[in-house]
Amino acid sequence: MEDTVSDLLDADLLDRLSHLGVPTRAVVSGTLSGVHRNPQHGSSVEFAEHQEYAPGDEVRRIDWRVFGRTDKYYVRCYEDETNLQAYFVLDSSGSMAYGQGEQNKLRYAARLAANLAYLLLHQQDAVGLVTVGATVERHLPARARSIHLRELCAQLCLMKPAGSTGLTAGLTHVGEVAEKYSTIYVVSDLFAQESQMYRALRRLRAQHHTVVLFQILHPDELHFPFRRLTAFQSLEGHQRVILEARAIRTAYLQSLQAFLERIRLEAGNVGITHVQVETSQPLEHILRTHIIGRCGPSRSTRRAV
C-alpha cells in the first residue's frame, strides 16, 4: 500500500469515537489494571456474584451466610479490572487486492485496523499485529504505548497484497503469541481453506481468546454486477476463466451466500463474532455498530474450560 500513517487514521472519526471505549463482555486477562474484567476471580475488593459450589472450588470462598439461609453451598466471586491485549490478524493475500480507491479491500482493512488500534491504545490496551499473505509476513508484538501506533500503521502501510491466502497459518501463529484471554481481530475476506480455518478459529476459542471476524468484501463480490462475457482473472494465481457473467451470476451468488452462511454458522457455534463488512460502508458505521456497544460473542463463559 502506498498510504501513509496519516492516510490510515481518520482524525475526525477518532475524535467522535475516542470518548467511547471499546468494551467487551469477554473476560480479559491482563497484568495491568485496565478497563476490562479479569476472568480470574481473585482477592479483589469488589464482590461480583454468588455461584453455586462445585467440587474444586476453594472452600474458603464459601459464603456461610447464604448456606444458613438456603441450606445450599455458594462461593463468593470477586472482580478485578485489568487491561486488554488485542491482536490484529490482517490478511494480505492477493484476494485482498480487489477494489479501487477507498473500496480496496486491503486499504479498508488497514484503515479499520489502524483506527481500531488507535482506540484500543487510547484506552491503554495492548495492540499487536500479524499480517498474513501466503505465510505470516509480519508480527508486531502487543504493546500498550501510544507510540506503538506509529509502528503499527507503518507496518500496515508496508503491506502488499500477493499470493494465496495463508490465514490459517496466521491464526495459528497468533494463538501462539497472544496471551490468554486476548482479543483477536481477524480482518480478512476469509477466502481460505474453510475447514482449516474453522479448526484454527476453534483452537483460538479453546485458548480462551475472544475472536472477532471482520470479513471484508467488495460490493462486486457481494452483488456480482457483471453481465457480459468476461475473463475473470484470479488475484492469487494465474488462473483465468472466461464466463458469460449473466449466465453464471445466480449460481455464483448462491455459492457465495452458502459460504457466508457457513461462516456465520461456524462463528455462532464456536462463539465468534462475525461481522460482514462491505467496503462501500463508511468505516465509522462499522466501528460504532459492531465495536462500540454491540461487539462480543453471544455469551462468554467465565470459567476456563
Partner: protein
C-alpha cells in the same frame, strides 16, 4: 427441394458471421481480476454442461438465423409430380369447366372420359386451398352453371360434380369460356383461372378463339383427360330415306359410316325395320366416309341401323324414319264416275294411293260423289281430292273452304267436267283462276306438252329431282287448264309444262293448302297415270296437303338439342310426345290452337312417338314419329393438339407463353412453397434465441 432464386443461396456465406463473432467475442472478453474466483469456478463446474449447451445452442441458432434469411429469399419449394394443374398458393378464383358432350362417353378401359374428368376435377378440388372460390360449368351446348356462381363451399362443388352425366350434346367450348369469364368477373380475388377438362375431340371445331370481353381475361388451363391417347371411332354419320322413284312401295335407305381412325374399317351394317333384318358389308378407308344403300318397305314407320359397337357406342346405332305418319284419310270426290272401272275418273288415283297389294302406302281412301259430301263426313278427312267435279254447290264450296281453312288439304284436278265456269264456283279456293282449257295440237312425243325439268326444290318433287330421266318428264299432256297466273292472291306455280303453262299450282288458305293440277288424273287428258312417276307424285301431293311434308326437302329428323316443330292435325286436342328413354310430355287444349308445337326436350337420340288425339284423350288417336340424332360433329373424335388449343384459348400473351409447354395430366409438376415456413421458423428461432439469451 428446388429454389426459385437460387443465386440468393450465395448469402449462406453469412453463416460464418456468427461463428467469427463467437470466437472473436471470446478473445475480446473483458479481463477482470476477481478475488472470489473459487466461487465462480464452483458455479461454473456445476453449470458447465448446461452453460456449454446453452452457448452452443445460441451459436447454432444464430447461425441458423443468418443462414435462414438468404434461404428464405431463395424461395425454396418442394417439387413433386402432382396430379392436377398448377395453381397459385394465393387466393384464386377457379372455374372448373367439365366437358360433358357426347364424345366424353368414350370408354377407356373401365371408365369413360367423363368419369376421368370428374375424378380429375375432384383431385383439383381436394388440392385447392379453402381460401379459393370455385364455380362449376359444363361444356355441352348450351353451357350450364351447376353452382350458384363462385362459392367457397368446396363440399357443395364436390357434390355437384357427382351430378354431371354424359349428354348427347355437342361441345361449345367458346360459350363455356365466356360463361366462365362472366362468373369470374365478379371475383375480388387476385388470381382467376379457368380449368377445362376435355377430351380434345375436334368435333368439327376449327376455331376456338374466345372473344374475351374483359381486358384481363382469366388464365386458362386445359387438361387432356385422355392423356394424349388417340380415340379411334366409327360412327353411323347419316341416314337418308327417300321413296324409291321407280319402285312403287319401296323406300331407299342410304347409310353413311364415318371412320375416325388410321385403320381401315370393314364390317357389316345391319338394318332393322318392321321386324326384318338386312345386312350389308361396308368398307371405310381411314379418316373417310362410305355409304351403303338398302331397300325398305315404304309402308314401315321407322327402323334402326347398326354397326358393331366400339368404345363410343351410341353413335354405332341410329334410328331413321321411313313413314312418319299414320294412315292419311283421303276423300276422293269423283266428279266423273263410270261404270267401267278403267274409265272411272278415280281408277288410277285409287290404285296409286291405296293399292290392294300388300304394299301399304299409309293412305285410307274414301270415294264419294259430290252430292254425298257433307261437313260431318269430312271431319275426319285429311285430304280431299276434287277429281273433275263439274258443279260445286255453294254449300259444298263453303264446306270445302271451312275444311281447308281448318287445316285440311285440297287437291283439285282437271277434267272435262271441270270447266272454267265450274272453276269459278270455287275461285276463292283456287290458286289461280282458270282461263280456258287448252289442247295441244296433236299427239306424239314432239308435239305433246311435258312437265318441264328441272323441278324446283320442293318436297313434292323430292323423289324426282335426282332423276332427270324420271318417267315424270316423259308423261304427255294433251290438254290442260290454262291458268291466269296474273290472278291477285297467294297462289304460286310449283311446276310448269314445257310450253310454259302451269302444271301444278299451290295456295295456302288459312291453316290448310290447296293444290291445283291442271291436267287429269285419268287418261282423258294425259298419260301421266300410266307412268310409274304417277304413284309417288300422287302420294307426295297427298302427304304434302296433309302437312306431313315440310316446304323444304324432307327432314323428319333433327339433331340432339334442337327444337322440333310438331304439326298437330286438324281437330287434335290432345298430344303426347314420348321420348326413347320413356319420358313423355303432354300438350292439350289451347296449346294446340296454333297447330304447330315447339318441342325442345330432344336430349336423347332415337325415335320419338307423337300420339295425337282428336277430342278427348281416350278418343281415337294417331301416331307419328320423328327421329333425333346425335350431332355428327360429336362423332369426330379426331384429337386437337393440346398446345394449339391452349394457345387458342389463352386470353393474354403471357398466358400464351405459358401454354407453350405441352403437359399431360400425369406430367404436371407442382411445388409446395417453403419460404413462408422458413420465415415462420426464423421467427421462432429468434424468439427462442431471445429467450435463451435473457434466461438467468
Amino acid at each position: 427441394m428446388r429454389f426459385e432464386n437460387p443465386y440468393m443461396l450465395f448469402g449462406l456465406a453469412a453463416l460464418l458471421v456468427p461463428l467469427v463473432l463467437h470466437f472473436w467475442h471470446r478473445r475480446r472478453a473483458q479481463v477482470v481480476p476477481f478475488a472470489a474466483l473459487d466461487f465462480l469456478l464452483q458455479s461454473h463446474r456445476r453449470m458447465a454442461q448446461r452453460l456449454h449447451i446453452r452457448q452452443w445452442l445460441l451459436l447454432v441458432i444464430r447461425c441458423l438465423l443468418t443462414a435462414g434469411i438468404p434461404l428464405a429469399l431463395a424461395k425454396p419449394y418442394l417439387a413433386y409430380q402432382a396430379e392436377g394443374p398448377k395453381l397459385s398458393a394465393e387466393p384464386t378464383s377457379v372455374v372448373l369447366v367439365i366437358d360433358d358432350s357426347f364424345s366424353m362417353s368414350y370408354r377407356l378401359g373401365e371408365e369413360t372420359l367423363l368419369d376421368r374428368a370428374i375424378e380429375q376435377a375432384r383431385v383439383v378440388m381436394n388440392e385447392l386451398p379453402p381460401f379459393c372460390n370455385v364455380a362449376l360449368v359444363t361444356c355441352s351446348a348450351p353451357p350450364r352453371t351447376l353452382t350458384d356462381g363462385l362459392t367457397f363451399d368446396h363440399h357443395f362443388v364436390l357434390k355437384a360434380l357427382q351430378t354431371i352425366t354424359a349428354t348427347y350434346r355437342s361441345t361449345d367450348i367458346v360459350a363455356a369460356m365466356l360463361t366462365a369469364e362472366r362468373l369470374l368477373s365478379g371475383s375480388r380475388l387476385m388470381h382467376r383461372v379457368v380449368i377445362l377438362l376435355t377430351d380434345l375431340a375436334s368435333g368439327g371445331k376449327s376455331d376456338l378463339r374466345v372473344p374475351w370481353t374483359t381486358r384481363r381475361p382469366p388464365q386458362v388451363q386445359v387438361i387432356d383427360v385422355a392423356n394424349g391417347r388417340p380415340l379411334p371411332n366409327r360412327a353411323i354419320r347419316d341416314t337418308q330415306v327417300r321413296l324409291a322413284a321407280n319402285r312403287f312401295g319401296r323406300a331407299e335407305l342410304q347409310v353413311t359410316v364415318a371412320n375416325f381412325s388410321p385403320e381401315l374399317w370393314h364390317d357389316l351394317v345391319t338394318v332393322r325395320a318392321g321386324g326384318r333384318l338386312s345386312t350389308g358389308y361396308l368398307q371405310v378407308a381411314p379418316w373417310s366416309t362410305a355409304s351403303k344403300e338398302f331397300s325398305l318397305d315404304a309402308a314401315l314407320t321407322y327402323g334402326t341401323v347398326e354397326i358393331p359397337p366400339d368404345d363410343l357406342q351410341d353413335d354405332n346405332r341410329r334410328a331413321f324414319v321411313i313413314r312418319p305418319a299414320a294412315d292419311l284419310r283421303v276423300l276422293i270426290v269423283n266428279g266423273a264416275p263410270r261404270n267401267v272401272q278403267y274409265l272411272d275418273e278415280t281408277f288410277f288415283v285409287t290404285r296409286a294411293l291405296a293399292p290392294k297389294s300388300e304394299v301399304n302406302t299409309g293412305v285410307a281412301l274414301m270415294v264419294m260423289t259430290p252430292d254425298q259430301v257433307t261437313a260431318k263426313q269430312i271431319q275426319m278427312i285429311d285430304v280431299i281430292i276434287l277429281a273433275n267435279v263439274a258443279q260445286v254447290t255453294a254449300e259444298l264450296s263453303n264446306v270445302l273452304e271451312s275444311f281447308v281453312r281448318a287445316g285440311g288439304g285440297l287437291l283439285v284436278t282437271a277434267g272435262d267436267n271441270f270447266t272454267p265456269a265450274a272453276a269459278q264456283a270455287i275461285a276463292d279456293l283456287l290458286p289461280f283462276s282458270v282461263r280456258s282449257v287448252e289442247k295441244v295440237a296433236a299427239r306424239g312425243l314432239l308435239q305433246a306438252a311435258h312437265i318441264a325439268p328441272p323441278l324446283p326444290a320442293h318436297s313434292l318433287f323430292e323423289p324426282f329431282r335426282a332423276q332427270p330421266d324420271s318417267s315424270l318428264f316423259a308423261a304427255e299432256i294433251q290438254r290442260f287448264l290454262l291458268l291466269d297466273a296474273q290472278t291477285v292472291g297467294n297462289g304460286q306455280v310449283l311446276a310448269s309444262l314445257t310450253n310454259g303453262a302451269p302444271f301444278l299450282a299451290e295456295k295456302s288458305l288459312g291453316d290448310g293448302r290447296v293444290l291445283m293440277l291442271t291436267t287429269t288424273i285419268d287418261r282423258d287428258w294425259t298419260d301421266l297415270p300410266i307412268h310409274p312417276a304417277f304413284v309417288p307424285l300422287m302420294l307426295n301431293m297427298v302427304r304434302y296437303l296433309a302437312v306431313q311434308l315440310a316446304t323444304t326437302p324432307a327432314q323428319q329428323a333433327d339433331d340432339i338439342g334442337s327444337t322440333v316443330r310438331l304439326r298437330a292435325k286438324r281437330g287434335v286436342q290432345h298430344m303426347i310426345v314420348r321420348a326413347p328413354d320413356g319420358a313423355s310430355q303432354e300438350f292439350e287444349g289451347s296449346k294446340l290452337a296454333r297447330r304447330e308445337i315447339p318441342f325442345a326436350k330432344t336430349d336423347v337420340p332415337g325415335i320419338y312417338e307423337v300420339e295425337s288425339m282428336i277430342g278427348k284423350p281416350d278418343s281415337h288417336s294417331e301416331r307419328t314419329v320423328f327421329a333425333i340424332h346425335i350431332d355428327p360433329k360429336e362423332m369426330d373424335t379426331t384429337r386437337l393438339d393440346l398446345a394449339a388449343v391452349r394457345m387458342a384459348l389463352a386470353g393474354s400473351p403471357q398466358v400464351q407463353e405459358t401454354a407453350q409447354d405441352a403437359q399431360t395430366w400425369e406430367a404436371s409438376e407442382v411445388g409446395t412453397e417453403l419460404w413462408p415456413w422458413v420465415i415462420i421458423a426464423l421467427l421462432g428461432l429468434l424468439f427462442f434465441e431471445t429467450f435463451l439469451f435473457w434466461q438467468r
